[in-house]
Amino acid sequence: MSQPKDSCVEPAGGPIGVPETEGQQPTTTQKEELRMLAQVGKPAPDFEASAFVKGGFENIRLSNYKGKWVVLCFYPGDFTFV
């Protein structure tokens, strides 16, 4: 598990194994490909993300959780209401 340096801006990895789109405006086809990756019955797309966990900062990679059940929740934002 890599430790992020606590500077202000640090690349956090992001999706792994997903082709980067070139330029600022991906074509419709590229967008569709990105959207189609997560499906039931298919491998969960791997990623690395910086995280706040157990009082400290850590980079978390999904594939390090093989062998465990994982619940991955997205939500609109910290300090929002629901």
């Binding site: 059940w69 609109p76 629901v82």
Partner: protein, 129 residues
């Protein structure tokens, strides 16, 4: 996971969540800078610039077994998530199938020729609730 930074996660945990849950929520709070991971999971709202309320249940092989996506104004039901985790774990262990509304201890189904046309004998609609 949200598009907020790990620094914002820290302050939210310390200033608010720890007042709802003693000691704070015990889960890793992940940062999805720019929504790049949310895009891959199909939950990034381009117009709002945030990840919407998506939930993915991933098994020990790294395979997605369940997903649920809600628009922001409606919250999730954690009891249903826990029921699904138990059901998927039971199915993985036994090879059985769990009918609608299944709860641990209730009747399961063993799909095969002998069950065709006979589900009504062992499963009743009131068991869906």
């Amino acid at each position: 996971m949200s598009v907020d930074s790990r620094f914002t996660h820290k302050i939210w945990q310390e200033e608010e969540l720890s007042k709802m849950v003693k000691g704070g929520v015990p889960f890793a709070m992940l940062s999805d800078a720019g929504g790049r991971i949310g895009k891959v999971y199909g939950v990034y709202d381009e117009a709002a610039g945030v990840d919407i309320r998506g939930r993915f249940l991933i098994d020990p092989d790294g395979v997605i077994q369940a997903m649920e996506v809600l628009t922001p104004a409606v919250g999730r039901n954690v009891a249903e998530l826990i029921r699904q985790v138990k059901a998927f774990q039971h199915v993985r262990k036994t090879g059985e199938a769990t009918p609608s509304g299944w709860q641990p201890g209730r009747v399961t189904l063993k799909p095969g020729p002998n069950l065709v046309g006979k589900v009504w004998e062992i499963w009743k609609p009131d068991m869906a609730f």
